[in-house]
């Protein structure tokens, strides 16, 4: 009986499965007009189990200097103090606090930190489990002025759409 209880307790407190990011991830952003590009470097830790959402969590960090808009001048401009200020704020971070099921997908509540401004956000994401590999997908919109990225107005719209695809493996 004691053995059974010990085993049950251990199982109950088992952490959600840890997933490792593969290098096939994609972080793409688009805005109005000519705005668009990718961030090429991201790292983080993902512990996710669709049967144990309370024990699941994400910590993701995107390297701001890895931005690529396809144009050298635009890249330099995006990394400058007027926009992301990559020298002072080298990372975009997201740290999850709560994950809940939402239909076939999930909603993660967490702190998004961009340009030194931390803001709580709720992001939708999907999870496709293929056993030892899986893929997380998330598409959401942020308001760049909420994070003091760039000056309000101008040619770049306030809303920036992000599409994130993260293949993972155990």
């Amino acid at each position: 009986m004691a053995t059974l209880l010990t085993f049950a307790a251990a199982f109950a407190f088992a952490p959600a499965a840890n997933w490792q990011l593969t290098d096939k991830y994609s972080v793409r952003f688009t805005g109005t007009g000519d705005v668009g590009g990718i961030f090429k470097t991201m790292k983080g830790t993902i512990a996710f189990d669709d049967k144990d959402l309370a024990g699941s969590n994400f910590v993701l960090a995107i390297d701001v200097a890895s931005i690529n808009t396809g144009n050298g001048l635009m890249n330099t401009h995006a990394k400058s103090a007027e926009w992301f200020d990559a020298g002072k704020y080298p990372q975009i971070k997201f740290t999850s606090k709560k994950i809940v099921k939402s239909g076939a997908n999930y909603l993660v509540t967490g702190d998004m930190e961009i340009h030194g401004v931390k803001k709580e956000m709720i992001l939708p994401f999907s999870f496709q489990n293929k056993g030892t590999t899986a893929t997380f997908n998330s598409t959401f919109t942020i308001n760049r002025s909420d994070f003091h990225v760039g000056k309000p107005g101008g040619d770049v719209g306030e809303s920036i759409k992000l599409e994130i695809m993260v293949p993972v493996k155990k």
Binding site: D34, G37, N68, T69, G70, N71, G72, L73, M74
Partner: protein
């Protein structure tokens, strides 16, 4: 005259294209950035040749209007247009999987001046300057 100018345009286009390809090779070797999938050798040769052929036609049209003042006006216009043509090169958006797009203007901007340089280099071989007026060598 028109045929000679077309020959000048064609040969100077080929010369500009060859110079651009040599420059591309030197550039990619020295900075380690290869843009040959974007600035393709065939495209460089064709655009250089077409550019110089258009310049030749432009020279002919100017000669019809300006006669002895053709060269100074033509050279001025050709250089201005060469400068203007670098603006799209600076603003070009490359595919997102291409690394170091900031090095792309350094490759293509000099190339935009090669047609004018080649045209100016070969022009004396095709056009004889007399004491007062300029006429094409017969």
């Amino acid at each position: 005259m028109f045929k000679r100018l077309l020959l000048l345009g064609f040969l100077s286009g080929i010369l500009a294209g060859i110079a651009a390809l040599i420059y591309q090779k030197v550039y990619s070797t020295s900075v380690g950035a290869d843009f040959s999938n974007i600035a393709k050798p065939v495209g460089i040769m064709i655009s250089s040749t077409i550019g110089c052929l258009i310049a030749a036609v432009g020279y002919w049209l100017l000669y019809k209007m300006l006669k002895d003042r053709t060269e100074i006006v033509f050279n001025f216009i050709f250089v201005i247009l060469s400068f203007a043509s670098i603006i799209p090169a600076i603003g070009a958006k490359l595919p997102l999987d291409v690394n170091s797009p900031e090095l792309f203007p350094g490759l293509v901007i000099p190339m935009h001046f090669f047609p004018a340089l080649a045209f100016f280099t070969l022009e004396p071989l095709f056009i004889k300057i007399s004491e007062k007026t300029k006429s094409v060598v017969a």
